[in-house]
């Protein structure tokens, strides 16, 4: 345990963020790409890792590596202690009521699949309705389609408007006695829209529906309090939260998790096995079959501590400033059309550049050392809504600067020149 704790900086959080100093925490940011300083604006795909996270994973493998929850030897006890400490850190980070409500999975995608395959199979019947939104990532569409196919339930899609805001009146109209579950994103990965999830949850609960919130794009950028939201399930990924890849979190309300059948069978999740019958453990162990991603979970623990140290309100305030600076910078380029202009937005700038294909934009920007995402962002229905095959997406994080946005704007002007 001491390995994790001593690596976290002892100084009190500074407000506002000292971005110069923060950038020095991220070794990957300090490199040149194609002869230019790297401008990393692909943070909605994955974020860079601070040194404390890298050191933490390295320390685990160098000193504590052992399997968890079984060995009686010193290393196994250290590994178990660190793994469970990470669970407590995540619990505190999203203000869950107890650590047993935190299930470690591979990522947000697996967390949603877990809920679909356990809660869904046990509780969703033919004729029931599952409500999702038009702006969902494929990972919050496909598992529900699969469940509907299996159960005979009906998938219904709440539309969004031309700005990329959810149509709340439609949502309220579509909620009803048949609605078993609402699965909705907190922040749209393709548009940046911040959904009023607290309101959506309250309305769903009055209709008797359970709510899963996809927080993959919210947790890294704003304070999240699952108890204040009153959601039933909340999912996010470590690698988008400045932690290691291959680990993610399912938060589930304890009484719900307790009522759910296991997800996968194997070691770690059982109380006793005979060939006649197996009894399963209580959550979260029931849902963590096999050896988990121990290093990943411990690294995620270090990442959330790092974010708490910076201050999540300070992060949000800084990114809000970045967003308005970036929005203004792009608005000055006449060929840019912003896709997603919701009133409440996270720091995501999705855009198209006249009829220049986003792949060409991405390639030219890459030669300038600027990393953006070009494509459909695993949200093809969003692309269809806006009538574009793909968009360019600059997704900002707290380590980005005004200078980097200036570099993006200059790069876009160069793209226009090349393809004019």
């Amino acid at each position: 345990m001491s390995t994790v704790r001593t690596l976290v900086r002892e100084t009190p959080p500074e407000a506002p963020l000292e971005v110069r100093r923060i950038r020095a925490d991220f070794p990957a940011l300090l490199q040149e790409v194609n002869g230019h300083p790297l401008v990393y604006l692909d943070n909605a795909a994955t974020t860079q890792k601070p040194q404390v996270v890298i050191d933490c994973v390295r320390n685990y493998y160098e000193r504590d590596n052992a399997n968890v929850h079984r060995g009686l030897h010193a290393l196994s006890m250290r590994a178990t202690e660190a793994y469970e400490a990470a669970r407590h850190k995540v619990q505190r980070f999203i203000n869950a009521g107890q650590a047993e409500e935190i299930v470690f999975v591979r990522g947000a995608t697996e967390a949603i699949n877990l809920v679909a395959q356990t809660f869904g199979r046990a509780r969703v019947r033919a004729g029931d309705e599952i409500l999702i939104s038009e702006m969902e990532h494929h990972s919050n569409i496909v598992p529900w389609q699969m469940l509907c196919e299996e159960t005979g339930a009906v998938l219904r899609v709440v539309p969004m408007d031309g700005r990329g805001e959810l149509c709340i009146e439609d949502y309220e109209r579509m909620l009803g006695a048949r609605t078993r579950l609402v699965a909705v994103t907190h922040v749209s990965n393709a548009l940046g829209t911040v959904n009023p999830v607290e309101h959506l949850i309250a309305r769903a609960h009055s209709a008797g529906a359970v709510v899963l919130v996809d927080g993959a794009q919210a947790v890294p950028h704003m304070p999240v309090d699952v108890r204040a939201l009153d959601c039933d399930f909340y999912v996010f990924s470590s690698h988008k939260t400045f932690g290691p890849t291959g680990v993610g979190v399912l938060y589930g309300r304890h009484e719900l998790l307790e009522s759910m059948p296991p997800y996968q069978g194997g070691g770690e999740m059982i109380s006793a096995v005979t060939f006649e019958k197996t009894t399963f453990r209580e959550p979260p162990a029931r849902f963590e079959a096999g050896t988990p991603n121990i290093a990943g979970a411990i690294g995620l623990g270090a990442a959330v501590e790092y974010l708490e140290h910076l201050g999540r309100d300070a992060i949000m305030a800084y990114e809000r400033d970045l967003l308005s600076y970036g929005t203004a910078a792009l608005a000055e380029i006449p060929q840019v059309r912003l896709i997603g202009t919701a009133g409440e937005k996270a720091a995501i700038l999705s855009f198209v550049l006249k009829d220049i294909h986003p792949h060409d934009v991405g390639t030219v920007l890459d030669t300038l050392g600027i990393a953006i995402r070009s494509g459909h962002h695993c949200a093809q229905p969003v692309m269809q809504h806006f009538g574009v095959p793909a968009t360019c997406r600059a997704a900002l994080a707290f380590y980005n600067t005004h200078e980097e946005i200036d570099a993006l704007a200059a790069g876009i002007r160069q793209v226009v020149k090349v393809f004019a």
Partner: protein, 154 residues
């Protein structure tokens, strides 16, 4: 020449801005449709054959500069070629853009298609350059399915 200029050579930009043979061919002998789900690019290739020779070849669809220019230059190159020549050029072109040249090269040379040599430095863009060609290949084979860059055989 910078890497960027090497990728987007003037000839490519010219064919992107003014694609040749971008039109539907009425009553084609063969046609096939290609799709790259990663970027949403769609292309349809139309062929008119005359005793084993490509009499006319056109395309419809829109995509990025690389895929549009590639389709356009493909149609220019293949007109008047035999089936066997067309397939040989495809193999050689594929070798050029993937950086795994076919050894030894057989059949006619690539001519103007050499401008796509810069693509090999951008593995993510190889599919843009080859979409129209895979689609053409399907048309030559008279395969009915939509060609997808994400299917296993490509």
């Amino acid at each position: 020449m910078s890497e960027l200029d090497e990728l987007y050579q003037q000839l490519i930009l010219d064919h992107y801005r003014r694609p040749r043979n971008r039109r539907t061919l009425p009553q084609p002998d063969r046609t096939a449709e290609g799709y790259n789900p990663l970027c949403g690019d769609h292309v349809t290739v139309f062929l008119k054959m005359d005793s084993g020779v490509v009499k006319e070849v056109t395309f419809e669809g829109s995509g990025c500069a690389i895929s549009t220019a590639s389709a356009s230059l493909m149609t220019e190159t293949l007109k008047g070629k035999t089936l066997a020549e067309a397939r040989a050029i495809f193999r050689r072109f594929h070798g050029l853009v993937t950086g795994q040249p076919q050894e030894p090269p057989t059949g006619p040379g690539l001519g103007k298609l050499e401008v796509f040599s810069g693509v090999r430095k951008y593995p993510a863009r190889v599919k843009c350059a080859t979409l129209a060609w895979h689609t053409l290949d399907a048309a030559l084979e008279n395969r009915g399915d939509v060609v997808s860059t994400e299917s296993d055989e490509l």
